[in-house]
């Protein structure tokens, strides 16, 4: 920073955090116009701020809604123990899956859009639905139908967990489509994550019912891990 513009690093911080009065801000803005070094320092501060905000904008979701857990905690000790076990189970499986992926260079993991490239290489396709996103779900179901129509040898499994579980619940908006696919093709399966079902049960305080075509599996991630080991092609919807 030049000598004539005596704006300190601390003052830049106050400026960036909106802690200055209008006249103090004006003074710094004036200094920034005149001093390139100061201006560069300000840009760097701003950029670091944005990096930090970005880095924490996609943090892992908690396994359960902490508000609901806290409000239901008293008098629900048994549920709390069950939830802890679920979290432990989920973490263990997640860790296993992560280890597997790290050690096996992710040979079968692709985006749904890459399906065309991968199909000739595999007749076993696993589609993972973890979000109730209409666009993605439609794409997943369309792709499944296309696969089943064009290739009699292919086996397709759609596995749903976290909020994607809604796809396979009894009141699913896709119930008719799933029923139609299931009636038409014997080589398609729909699987629902048991951990996600248990979490939903704890959250909603009622049993979770699935579509008749859906089958409950203990844990989606365990199922994915198992399929990857069996050389299934894995696609995230």
């Amino acid at each position: 920073m030049s000598k004539e513009n005596t704006v300190s690093f601390e003052e830049l911080n106050y400026f960036i955090d909106g802690q200055l009065t209008r006249s103090e801000r004006a003074k710094i803005l004036d200094a920034l116009k005149k001093d390139d070094v100061l201006s560069k320092s300000m840009c760097e501060l701003q950029r670091n701020n944005e990096f930090v905000q970005l880095s924490y904008s996609h943090i892992p979701e908690p396994d359960q809604n902490p508000y609901l857990t806290a409000t239901k905690r008293s008098g629900r000790q048994l549920f709390a123990i069950a939830a802890s076990l679920l979290i432990l189970l989920s973490s263990t499986i997640s860790w296993q899956l992560q280890s597997y992926l790290m050690n096996n260079q992710q040979p079968n993991i692709m985006e749904l859009s890459q399906l065309g490239d991968a199909l000739p290489k595999s007749n076993k396709v696993l589609i993972h639905v973890s979000e109730m996103d209409d666009k993605r779900i439609k794409k997943a179901l369309d792709t499944t139908e296309e696969l089943l129509t064009n290739n009699k040898q292919v086996r397709v499994e759609i596995i749903a967990n976290t909020s994607g579980l809604s796809l396979l619940r009894k009141n699913s908006p896709y119930a008719a489509r799933i029923s139609s696919l299931s009636n038409q093709y014997s080589n398609v399966k729909f699987k629902a994550c048991g951990i996600a079902m248990q979490a939903a049960k704890l959250k909603e305080g009622k049993e979770i019912n699935l579509l008749p075509e859906a089958e409950k599996v203990p844990a989606a991630l365990d199922e994915i891990l198992h399929h990857l080991k069996e050389n299934w092609a894995y696609f995230k919807a």
């Binding site: 911080n13 955090d17 802690q19 760097e44 930090v52 908690p62 806290a70």
Partner: protein
């Protein structure tokens, strides 16, 4: 009294995600962050009669969480400070490589910061609080907040130099944003 009203519960319900985000920055552990938020909400509900000023509720909420966090450290004082960075969750199996790299780098840099600095800076940068609010949350003078934020940024600047060197990496970050 506001603490006794249904709005109080609604307020807690609407704000747990903000608490969780900051708790995650402090702990770098999703389970611990979730536990911290649960404990905070439990304490808030238990002492709800103390909440009178609706305007200051968010500051109070974070203040309670800060107390819970420091209580946790007091309980853990004979143990090593938690240092595991869990960048993995079941929902982001295929997060883009570059984004993960940047996140990892920045989060690691943030984790290296002294706990006092990390707490102050996260409330300002992530939660967007004023220095005055942070001073109430952390129960420290406003001058201390100013110096902690400034020192934290200065340290972060050194630690994040490598991130800036890779323009390709930065390009990927912005495109995702």
């Amino acid at each position: 009294m506001f603490g006794q009203s249904r709005y109080f519960r609604q307020f807690l319900q609407n704000n747990w995600r903000d608490l969780y985000r900051v708790a995650y920055v402090w702990t770098h552990d999703s389970q611990l962050a979730s536990d911290l938020v649960q404990e905070t909400i439990t304490r808030c509900l238990k002492h709800r009669q103390k909440f009178e000023n609706e305007k200051q509720l968010k500051v109070w909420l974070f203040k309670v969480m800060s107390n819970c966090w420091h209580d946790h450290f007091r309980r853990q004082k004979n143990n090593v400070e938690l240092d595991s960075v869990d960048l993995y969750s079941s929902t982001n199996l295929e997060e883009e490589y570059y984004r993960l790299q940047v996140m990892k780098h920045v989060q690691q840099a943030f984790e290296v910061l002294k706990s006092d600095y990390r707490e102050a800076l996260s409330l300002v940068v992530i939660e967007g609080m004023s220095y005055e609010d942070v001073s109430q949350v952390l129960d420290i003078p406003i001058g201390t907040v100013m110096s902690r934020v400034s020192r934290a940024r200065s340290r972060l600047k050194e630690l994040m130099k490598d991130v800036h060197l890779n323009d390709e990496l930065a390009t990927n970050v912005w495109s995702i944003k």
